[in-house]
């Protein structure tokens, strides 16, 4: 009875399966040479907030009579951190942008045409051929992920670039530095 009582006020592990707060830094996270998970999560949230605000203030977006098209482009991973990690961050960023009322007002967020064309063919969705948008109204968000290693110190550098599809002009760029000691 006493033993059971010791855990009485806390959530039974069986009902949560041992899930823990994703913003908690664990021992494995600290020991790993890879980018710190809580830092990556916070990074994606901060960047999404900044991106949402900045993108919607862009000339050609703020005053446009119709919603512009936002497409997620490729990522380039130049680090020892697996591409899956960076894709996760890119995906979280996209998720946060999709939830933003500001972004919803100004943009249609779309999947890339190549992927949707293969879906279209798989489904046999006759008459629903994936759309081509006006390049002047289409913006592609691309990312680069760099790192520098000196002894115990690792410096991660993330860069996001938004390009207009018609002019190829970079209309937005945001950088984020993350330094960590092993």
């Amino acid at each position: 009875v006493l033993l059971l009582g010791a855990c009485q006020n806390q959530q039974p592990v069986g009902s949560t399966g041992g899930r823990i707060d994703p913003y908690r830094t664990t021992g494995a996270d600290m020991a790993s040479g890879r980018a710190n998970i809580p830092s990556l999560l916070e990074f994606s949230e901060q960047t999404a907030r900044r991106l949402a605000e900045d993108l919607c203030q862009l000339e050609g977006v703020a005053g446009a009579s119709q919603r512009q098209v936002l497409e997620l482009g490729t990522i380039t991973n130049m680090t020892q951190t697996p591409s899956g990690d960076f894709e996760m961050i890119q995906n979280r960023l996209r998720g946060q942008l999709l939830q933003s009322d500001l972004v919803k007002r100004h943009f249609v967020v779309v999947m890339d045409r190549q992927r949707m064309t293969s879906e279209y063919e798989r489904l046999g969705a006759v008459g629903n051929d994936p759309a081509r948008y006006d390049a002047a109204q289409t913006y592609v968000l691309q990312g680069d992920f760099h790192e520098a290693i000196r002894g115990e110190r690792r410096q991660f550098y993330f860069q996001f670039v938004l390009t207009n599809l018609a002019t190829r002009q970079i209309v937005f760029q945001d950088d984020y530095d993350l330094a960590q000691l092993r």
């Binding site: 806390q10 959530q11 041992g18 899930r19 021992g27 494995a28 998720g95 779309v110 489904l123 046999g124």
Partner: protein, 182 residues
């Protein structure tokens, strides 16, 4: 995007694998999110009818998720929604995936699948994870602790416009200790 925080008083679980409870919680969270989404709220009985095809989970985690579970995790989301009500009040119908056409053939269907309504939307899910490890430098193959961050994401995309009309995810982290690699 939903992130849940849990506390537990028992010992750290010996594995970080996805559990049945993770699945149950994910379905509960995303079903609630979809029910409250702009995508469903903005639709009525006179809206342009849409046909949703449900795709299986794309597993990008380090877990092995059998195909049956991959189908189950999207079928349960569809099953959690009132299908008759959606057809009547929101002009939404669901369609069997091309991969399951053989099941209808086996059941005696001899018609042409291409003559039905073409799919307009795809509901899919992607499960991702990030792993961090603390290895024992004195013993080859011994992992002192491992942390897996999971993101279980669901999305509905318009095939023709490529627009992501709804997306949400459930995120959590799990830590395990005392693992050994074969």
């Amino acid at each position: 995007m939903t992130t849940l925080i849990f506390a537990a008083c028992a010992t750290t679980p010996p594995t970080t694998r996805l559990t049945i409870d993770d699945y149950n919680t994910t379905i509960a969270v995303v079903t609630q999110s979809l029910a409250a989404s702009d995508f469903l709220r903005d639709r009525g009985p006179d809206s342009e009818p849409i046909v949703i095809v449900v795709d299986r989970v794309l597993n990008l985690t380090t877990d092995i998720i059998p195909p049956a579970e991959q189908w189950m995790m999207v079928a349960r989301l569809r099953g959690a929604m009132p299908i008759i009500e959606l057809e009547r009040n929101k002009a939404i119908t669901f369609q069997i995936t091309p991969e399951k056409h053989q099941l209808l053939r086996d059941a005696g269907f001899e018609g042409d699948f291409r003559t039905g309504k073409p799919a307009t939307h795809v509901m899919s899910a992607v499960f991702r994870s990030m792993r961090r490890e603390l290895r024992d430098p004195r013993e080859e193959g011994h992992i002192v602790a491992v942390t897996d961050f999971y993101q279980l994401e669901y999305t509905i995309v318009n095939v023709a416009s490529r627009e992501i009309v709804w997306s949400d995810s459930f995120e959590f982290q799990r830590q395990a200790t005392g693992l050994r690699i074969d």
